[in-house]
Symmetry: C2
Subunit: 211 residues, 2 copies
């Protein structure tokens, strides 16, 4: 396919603008395995440095594992709150920053830093490129999920090393993202942080400098 | 839009499978400014931690700037080659790993680690989340570019600090990606590294572990 139809390009733009970080899920509406598998396939289609395909996934299902992840988030969140004062602190305390209590599917996405796949190509000068490959996979997943009507929330207020320990991740796996997945309570083109008046998006892309 | 039409979901999957890392460009076919601007808009639609929107872009246009970037790549590439021996070294030497000599548009994508936008939300426990936001923006750009028929190649064999210096990037900007953009010589669903028998993709996503 040389280029995709104009209509598809417009829809892709719509998809990107309707993709939001979701923190409010229908706790009682499970995600069908077949839908989840279809969406997970998008991970395989992501670029990876040297074809290393370093993405590794742990589905956090048991009450015990979820509890540990939640305790981790709550500690990191309390710590973050303590770094703000005055109005900012009040605003921060009022934000809902994870859907971990409700999301029916929760995925911990790791980067296998120790993989020999790809024989290190492209990761010598910028070893972080492996983690960036995993982020690319998360974006593919996020867009595919949204296309199917699923909401995704990325929790980064979490101690990655503690979570890796708690989930008994393999040696050499580094946490890149903790994803909450489920059917969203509402859909929107406006980020929650903008609605909550925490921050605004810039209406324009910052100027592209030239050299 | 609750969910997108089935046909769109299928096309999105196609788009992801036709998105490749491109290193062979038509050097004599310029990219229209209007197309580039449309595709750059996809960056604005990416998620960013705390709504920090930390992406910064330098378009590498002048002969002098391109020369410096190319010299940087060639040194890093020679260095990488010296880490292989025997058949691997021979194969590595035969790979074309960047389209920097041909690509009509070249963009250095940075993360502004010093931005106060977003007031640090979500970047306390995992400061790397800011760079991950920039990678998300690169993925949006890549997919939008491919939809419009443009090829993108991500060069990670480059000394990021040297490039930031050479391009006189602002204090606090860290290089995330060097992108070559242009009209591809060929389109494919198979990665160049697979064609060159450097590495194969796994036919299936690795097993999702459960905890």
């Amino acid at each position: 396919m040389e280029r995709f139809p104009e209509q598809f390009c417009d829809q892709l733009r719509d998809l990107m603008s309707w993709r939001r970080d979701v923190r409010h899920f229908h706790a009682d509406r499970p995600v069908d395995d077949a839908v989840l598998e279809t969406v997970l396939e998008a991970i395989r289609l992501a670029p990876s440095v040297g074809l290393s395909e370093p993405w590794r996934i742990i589905s956090v299902k048991s009450d015990a594992a979820r509890k540990k992840a939640l305790v981790n988030f709550e500690a990191a969140n309390a710590d973050a709150l303590s770094g703000y004062s005055g109005e900012r602190a009040q605003k921060y305390a009022g934000l809902k920053l994870s859907g971990m209590r409700d999301a029916p599917v929760q995925l911990a996405i790791f980067c296998d830093e120790s993989t020999e796949k790809g024989a290190g190509l492209g990761a010598g000068t910028m070893p972080e490129a492996r983690r960036y490959s995993v982020v690319s996979a998360v974006m593919n997943f996020w867009l595919a999920a949204r296309a199917h009507g699923l909401g995704v929330g990325w929790v980064s207020i979490i101690d990655p090393k503690q979570l890796a320990l708690d989930l008994r991740a393999d040696e050499g796996w580094a946490l890149v993202a903790y994803l909450c997945v489920g059917w969203p309570m509402e859909i929107s083109q406006t980020p929650e942080l903008e609605k909550a008046e925490w921050e605004k998006r810039d209406p324009l892309l910052a100027e592209v400098q030239e050299r």
